[in-house]
Amino acid sequence: MKLNGSFWTGLFLAGWLFHAVVSSLWSIPVPSPQWLLLAVLAVGSIGRVAAAETLGFFWGLMLDAQGSSLFGAQGWILAAAGFAVGRLSRQVDAEKALSQVILAAGGTLFYLVFLAQSELLFRGTGVPHVPPIGAALAQLLINAAAAPLVFRLVRAAGRRFLGGEESHAYGD
């Protein structure tokens, strides 16, 4: 296992810091890209399945703690997204921007559907927090648009700090 602990810890902190700063400064009337979801997908796309699902799980829990979603919902969804993309990384050429956009769109759709499902299934009291279809569509488009940038950054960081080669071993 070539998992470099410092790199992943650094990525976890840097990703959260970036998300915290950008989301607090985001003032234009469109949703901010889901940087952490995109980063999880990008890490999964380089074959680092365990890292993707671990980052996804803990980033998701942080998002749950920060936001109003049920605690554990985003943790599981991001972990599942990282696991799924990591599993698919052998079949997908994630170097291509089109593949990145499709992965981002699919990941966002997965995220939105399962987040809504978790709200409907587990929200005991109160109104389930299900996003309106227009907002969900806008989020999907924005994530797809931002995906090439995030994928490029994560893949470049991976090549720089993890020795250059991608891993498609299921266990990393």
């Binding site: 296992m1 810091l17 915290a20 700063v21 607090s24 400064l25 399945v49 365990a50 699902e53 671990t54 799980f57 829990l61 942080m62 749950d64 703690a65 920060q66 049920l70 605690f71 554990g72 919902a73 943790g75 599981w76 972990a79 599942a80 696991f83 990591g86 978790s118 299934l121 587990f122 005991g124 299921y170 266990g171 990393d172």
Partner: protein
């Protein structure tokens, strides 16, 4: 075996953990965690926000500085132009003085404006004069021109006909006994403008083939040095035969309606000291 399925096992662990959090309604139990996260996030957002605001202020200040620099450059250029104009005027004036000395010509008079308020109107139908609240003690003498502003253009109202110590009566341009040398600047033709009642002037002594046309402005010509040249008199509204062979006359609408005037300027010839009030 374990290594091969490590990520799958890990995913199962995370799934179970996630399901446990969701099923046990951990939402309520993590309120303190939420508060901690918010507490941790707030310091991250404040400095960047402050930095962004600072950056915005800097940008605005820089933009203002550039704008001010442009204004300063423009003013500097205009100042230089004015300086050059002034130097040129001084040179021309010096040349004029020399030429006047050589030819014996009297200098063109300069005028100093004296503001005054309309005191009363003559209430006859002809409305031939108005009285102002300045008189001989302010330096006004008979025949001094009186102007008022039409927009930003000075226009002739009339001239001082009678002077009292603190008042003066102004004979309006529309008085039939008023006459002023005039010019149509578009064509350069000169004539004499005379009053013909409260709302009508005539410009006499235009040649029969005059090019003056309705809409042309009529200004003072400055002949006789009674009125400075370039003051607005009125606008041509029509032409008609004068009754004298070879001449036509233009009907002119006065630039000023006397009943609308509240303040006027009496143009005092410079070099004439005003009489001091007791």
């Amino acid at each position: 075996m374990f290594r091969k399925h490590f990520s799958s096992l890990l995913f199962i662990v995370y799934s179970l953990l996630g399901l446990a959090f969701l099923s046990w309604s951990a939402d309520n139990a993590v309120q303190s965690l939420r508060h901690t996260v918010h507490y941790l996030m707030s310091p991250w957002s404040d400095p960047p926000l402050a930095a962004m605001e600072q950056l915005g202020d800097t940008g605005r200040n820089l933009s203002r500085l550039i704008s001010q620099d442009r204004v300063a450059r423009s003013l500097e250029e205009r100042g230089l132009t004015r300086t050059m104009d002034r130097l040129w005027c001084e040179a021309v004036e010096a040349e004029n003085v020399r030429l006047r000395t050589l030819t014996g010509l009297a200098p063109i008079p300069r005028y100093r404006p004296l503001p005054a308020r309309v005191w009363s109107w003559e209430t006859s139908a002809a409305l031939r004069s108005v009285t102002i609240n300045r008189g001989a003690r302010d330096g006004i003498t008979a025949t001094d021109p009186v102007v008022a502003f039409v927009g930003d253009k000075p226009a002739v109202l009339g001239q001082v006909a009678e002077v009292f110590p603190d008042k003066a009566r102004i004979m309006l341009l529309t008085d039939p006994s008023a006459a002023v040398s005039a010019v149509v600047p578009r064509t350069g033709e000169q004539g004499v403008i005379e009053g013909e009642g409260p709302s009508r002037l005539v410009l006499n002594y235009l040649y029969s083939d005059t090019a003056a046309a309705p809409g042309d402005e009529v200004l003072t010509a400055g002949l006789g040095e009674l009125f400075p040249s370039g003051l607005l008199l009125g606008t041509v509204v029509g032409l008609e035969d004068q009754g004298i062979e070879s001449f036509r006359r233009a009907l002119v609408k006065p630039a000023i309606q006397a009943t609308r005037v509240r303040e006027v300027l009496v143009l005092l010839r410079e070099g004439r000291a005003p009489v001091k009030r007791p």
